[in-house]
Structures are given as structure tokens and as C-alpha cells.
Symmetry: C2
Subunit: 145 residues, 2 copies
Amino acid sequence: MYNYAMAVEPVAALDKVFELASRVGDLMHAALTERGLTPARAEVLLVLHGRARPMVQRELSQALHCTPRHVTALIDALEGDSWVSRRPHPSDRRATLVALTEAGAAAAERLGNERETAAATLFEGLPAADIAAFMSVADHLLTHL
Amino acid sequence: MYNYAMAVEPVAALDKVFELASRVGDLMHAALTERGLTPARAEVLLVLHGRARPMVQRELSQALHCTPRHVTALIDALEGDSWVSRRPHPSDRRATLVALTEAGAAAAERLGNERETAAATLFEGLPAADIAAFMSVADHLLTHL
DNA sequence: TATTGTTATACTCTATAACTATA
DNA sequence: TATAGTTATAGAGTATAACAATA
């Protein structure tokens, strides 16, 4: 018996990716707002936490794919809320070192943990083969962009 | 033989969704910029084209999930570039009817076509079963949000 | 001469609140 | 009294350009 529903519309599949990203993004945005963070600022905390060392703003602009100007604004805001601190670079007097405060490191740690448990919950109950196929399709799309 | 790589990290899978959405979004953004459009403004054109009739701004704000204030700004910009036109509602003098101009309708038509061919190209060569699994996982995630 | 971070400026997305005209 | 759209205001992301201090 033929299954006429088998042919998948590529546009619909791509739309699903956007809807997924949008809905998950909205949830994360809401969770971050509760803590006085924004997605871009949270990303700074996560990058700093991942590197596990102070970073020069120039490094941050490269890691975040944003302009030095934007880094200035992000660090201004994060410093104002005591998530990070600035201090002069010891050998290069043009540069500024940005480090997580204790509060910032704790927040980054929590954010990472919550992201993991949320993702695990979401994928719970799905057949491993389907998840593998999902990843394989995603990889195919990413490499063909 | 055991395959130690079989267990998929849910966080990695979710990250792929974001990377995918971000990369595709960047491409679309660049394509729109060339035509003097932004994603939000292009969405207005597509919605108007989909409904195939003039819409009141209030309708647009609901269809776009944005505030009436934002609709005013979007239509101001689109009208300034002659993609859409405003005219008074015939029976409700509070309301404004927004219609695509010929240029706007043509642009919406092109955007839709290009989206379809791009999506088809992207998914080309993938096993139908994998695409089906991809959709199934995406649906599972969307319903469990 | 090149690089780091800043000030200056601008555009877009987005939201809330107050207001006007109309229903 | 409620609704449609506007003005006013604001915060956030993003970008370019010019500039000062330093390398």
C-alpha cells in the first residue's frame, strides 16, 4: 500500500527548525529575564565559564562573533550588575581583562546545568535511532549551507 | 561490538537546532538586506501575500505576534519603500487597510519561491526515512515544550 | 603602523503607556 | 466603554566610523 503522506515538504521541515529554535529561545529568554540577564549577556557568562580564565575584550568579540563596540556595551551592563569585573591587562596596557565574579561563575554554572537537564527531559522517550537520524539530517543541512 | 558513540547528548542536539536556525537565518537576512528588506518586514509581505487580501493593522499585529506599535513602524517603513499602501477602511473609520503594491506582491511571490527551492536543494539527497525521523523528533520536541 | 577599547551615531526589533478618533 | 492606530519613551542587539592610548 502506498503512503502518499511519505513525501516530506522541505519547506515545512525547515519551518519546524525555526519554530523549534524560536520556542526554545522564548523559554530561555524568559528564564534569563527572571535573573536580570539577556541571551547575549548570558552567552558572555557561558563563554567566560567555558574558557575558565579571564579574557581580553578582543577575544570575547571573536568568540561571540560580535563587534568590539557591542562587547563594550555587554561588559558595561554585566559589570554594572556585578556578574563580571574588569581589570587592566598586566603587560598590555591597551587591553582589559574581563573575569567572572563569584556570582557570575555560579550563575554560569547553574545555567549550564539547567540547559542540560532541560535538554535531557525534552529528548526523553525518543527512540535512539530517531535521534541519530535527527542528528544526521541536521549535520547534512549544516554542511550543505 | 559496542558503539560508545551511540548515546547522543541532548544538549548537542538542541545546539544543532539553534545553529541551524541561526545559519539559515543569516542567509535569509543577507538575501533580504540586498533588497532593502528586514526579516520582520519580509514577514509582513509574506503574511499579506498568504491572505491574498488587504488587512487591517490590528489583524497584522495578531498574525505577526507583535504589538500594534510595532505594526505601525513596520508599515511606515514598508510604505516608505512602496512595498505596501495604506488606505482608509470603508466602513470603520478608525481602521486602516494595508495592501501589497504590485512591487510588494511580486517580491512576496519571489521570496516564497526562493524559499521553496532553497529548502528543496538543502534536503536533496537525504534518505526519506531520515527526513521522516527528523520531522518526528521535531514534532515530539514541539509538543513537549 | 597596527591594535585595543571607547565615544559617537544610527537602525532595527520589541515593549509599555498615554492619547485621539471612532465605534 | 471599548477598539484602532498613533505618539512618546525606552531597552536591547547590531553595525560603522572616528579617535585616544598603547604596542
